[in-house]
């Protein structure tokens, strides 16, 4: 599997795709991909346009060129909810859960790949079992647990289910197993212990896998809706998806305000995406090749 992956990566680097034949075929191809791109981009553009259209002009729907663009909807949004706080919450929770999953996941991966202990397969089996149960199934009992521990409606409750992810452990264990044992042995001879081998040899070598796990952890947390919906009540603890859904409840027919909220929640992730686009797509493509 590892060999295939390496070969694939090498080939992908050189790959230019098959030669397209006639001019007509080439034009058809370009038209098709551009129409596709328009379908993907236009809804975002429409969101921005709606958000700056004066509320009065929305009855017949907005027009491509806005007559009297206004930031009124954004002002309404600022008054309606602590939107800056909500953005910071979303980013903070996503960064924290990503960091936690990388730390807990890589440590467990090292433990499973490099340490010998009794019942290792049974313990690993438990990890895999948690991987199969989706959060949707756990939402009710998890909520009850948080209530019992008096932790509902706290930042900790938001983070709790994502401190460790079995998916991350699984992916990272594969990567650690791929690191040649000889490197560990050489380091042991030089007097290095597990902690030094882990931090100076293993971690740098599994960086691609760490990036993949980071991408999934961040996107998972950023998009998470059901769990915050269940466990968070206070507006100042809300994350963006939850804030947006409550916004829609308040401004059912005021689409300019709802779209302003949508724009505000797209912008931070769009910036992250623009900066890390290559890694994000590579990370997703990586998990698919198995």
């Amino acid at each position: 599997m590892r060999d295939t992956r390496r070969r694939t990566a090498r080939r992908a680097a050189q790959y230019e795709g098959p030669e397209t034949r006639s001019l007509a075929a080439r034009i058809a191809l370009y038209v098709a991909v551009l129409v596709g791109a328009a379908i993907m981009l236009f809804p975002f553009l429409w969101t921005v346009i709606t958000s700056i259209t004066p509320e009065g002009s929305l009855a017949d729907g907005p027009t491509l060129i806005v007559d009297n663009p206004t930031l009124g909807a954004y002002r309404t949004l600022l008054d309606a909810m602590p939107i800056w706080r909500i953005i910071v919450n979303s980013l903070g929770v996503a960064v924290a859960s990503t960091a936690l999953q990388l730390v807990t996941g890589s440590m467990a991966a090292y433990g499973f790949a490099r340490l010998r202990f009794p019942l290792k397969n049974v313990v690993f089996g438990f990890y895999l079992a948690t991987l199969m149960v989706p959060l949707q199934v756990l939402v009710v009992p998890l909520f009850i647990e948080m209530k019992t521990l008096n932790l509902q409606d706290t930042y900790f409750a938001l983070l709790a289910p994502t401190i460790a992810s079995a998916f991350g452990v699984f992916l990272l264990r594969q990567a650690v197993t791929a690191v040649p044992m000889e490197l560990d042995e050489a380091a042991t001879i030089d007097g290095a212990g597990h902690l030094r081998i882990f931090t100076t040899i293993v971690l740098p070598l599994i960086r691609p896998a760490l990036a993949t796990v980071a991408v999934f952890a961040f996107m998972g947390s950023w998009n998470s809706f059901l769990w915050p919906l269940v466990v968070i009540r206070s507006p100042e603890l809300m994350t963006l998806p939850l804030g947006l859904s409550t916004l829609q409840g308040q401004f059912t027919t005021q689409w300019d305000v709802v779209m302003a909220g949508s724009v505000v929640s797209i912008v931070p992730i769009a910036i992250v995406y623009l900066l890390a686009q290559r890694h994000i797509i590579a990370g997703v493509a990586h998990t698919g090749i198995k």
């Binding site: 295939t4 070969r7 080939r11 992908a12 790959y15 795709g17 098959p18 030669e19 397209t20 191809l29 098709a32 991909v33 596709g36 791109a37 993907m40 981009l41 809804p43 975002f44 429409w46 017949d60 729907g61 730390v103 807990t104 440590m107 499973f112 340490l115 010998r116 990890y127 079992a129 948690t130 199969m132 949707q136 199934v137 756990l138 939402v139 009710v140 009992p141 998890l142 009850i144 647990e145 460790a164 042991t188 809706f225 059901l226 998806p241 947006l244 829609q248 689409w255 779209m259 949508s262 797209i266 992730i269 769009a270 686009q277 994000i280 797509i281 493509a285 698919g288 090749i289 198995k290």
Partner: protein, 292 residues
């Protein structure tokens, strides 16, 4: 072993506990307690009342359960072909020699990083029956204008359409990686043998893409059966329950009707369903998945 036994135990605990403790408390414990709750009648407030398998038998006879299962199946059955066919077309196109390929790929992927709630809101607006863009365009073309999320017949299609739009780029990236791992020599050999493009697609591309296809199908089915966010935001299961899905029903049972026991039982029914379908797929893959 490198170190002595007692020392090793310390290391095992050091490396495993940071993940084992949270997984135990926040996944394993709720799993078990969920099974326990599913055997009780409980409204989250008054003491639990043992009902054995009563919740399960109630759910099986409740017509609402069949409805939400049916809606979830319709969602999956509508979503998967669209997203696979669309993703495959995009992947095939981007696998050609093309200017701006990186830009196009990034553009198609943009909705994937956008959250479900945003996608659902944007599409709820685009599909607004009175002044939404889609119906305006349809109206201008003289085509019928459906009521989308306000019409019981169109609510699920509206959800399916917007979900497919969001995930198209995800499927494309997976399939593109699959396409790029097909050795070019296969195509050259087939060309020498006088095959046409159509034959090469059916005889080489699709069979050798089957591992990626398998991955997409498994992931899409697992995610599809858990669909919730976009339904909750777009239709809240309505109108008149016409788009209610399993997870939406679990949520409503718990937090709207105070029937946490039945909600937990329904969670386990959903889990069993996903598990059975995934196992069937893994068993069945030998028949159609070819690893090069």
């Amino acid at each position: 072993m490198r170190t002595g036994r007692a020392k090793n135990v310390g290391w095992v605990l050091f490396f495993l506990l940071p993940s084992a403790i949270p997984l135990f408390i926040f996944t394993l414990v709720p799993m078990v307690s969920s099974l326990w709750v599913s055997l009780h009648r409980w409204n989250l407030i008054s003491p639990m009342e043992w009902v054995g398998l009563g919740n399960y038998s109630n759910l099986i006879t409740d017509p609402m359960t069949r409805r939400v299962l049916l809606h979830t199946l319709i969602y999956v059955a509508g979503y998967l072909p669209i997203v696979y066919a669309g993703g495959l077309c995009l992947a095939l196109a981007l696998n050609q020699r093309l200017k701006g390929r990186a830009f196009l790929r990034a553009t198609y992927f943009l909705p994937v990083v956008t959250s479900w709630v945003v996608v659902a809101l944007v599409w709820k607006w685009l599909l607004n029956p009175t002044n939404g863009l889609v119906n305006q365009v349809l109206g201008t073309l003289g085509l019928p204008e459906p009521g989308w999320w306000t019409d019981p017949h169109w609510a699920l299609p509206a959800v399916i359409l917007s979900s497919a739009w969001k995930d198209l780029g995800f499927v494309m990236v997976i399939l593109l990686a699959g396409l790029q791992s097909i050795p070019g020599e296969f195509y050259e050999a087939a060309k020498v043998d006088g095959s046409n493009a159509w034959q090469r697609f059916w005889r080489i591309t699709l069979p050798l893409l089957s591992p990626s296809t398998f991955f997409v199908v498994v992931i899409s089915l697992i995610n599809g059966f858990q669909v919730f966010d976009q339904v909750y935001v777009m239709t809240a299961g309505g109108p008149a329950g016409s788009s209610q899905v399993v997870v939406g029903q679990i949520y409503d049972l718990t937090f709207r009707y105070g029937r946490a026991g039945e909600a937990s039982a329904l969670s386990w029914i959903l889990f069993a369903l996903i598990l059975v379908i995934t196992v069937i797929q893994i068993r069945g893959q030998r028949r159609w998945v070819h690893y090069a």
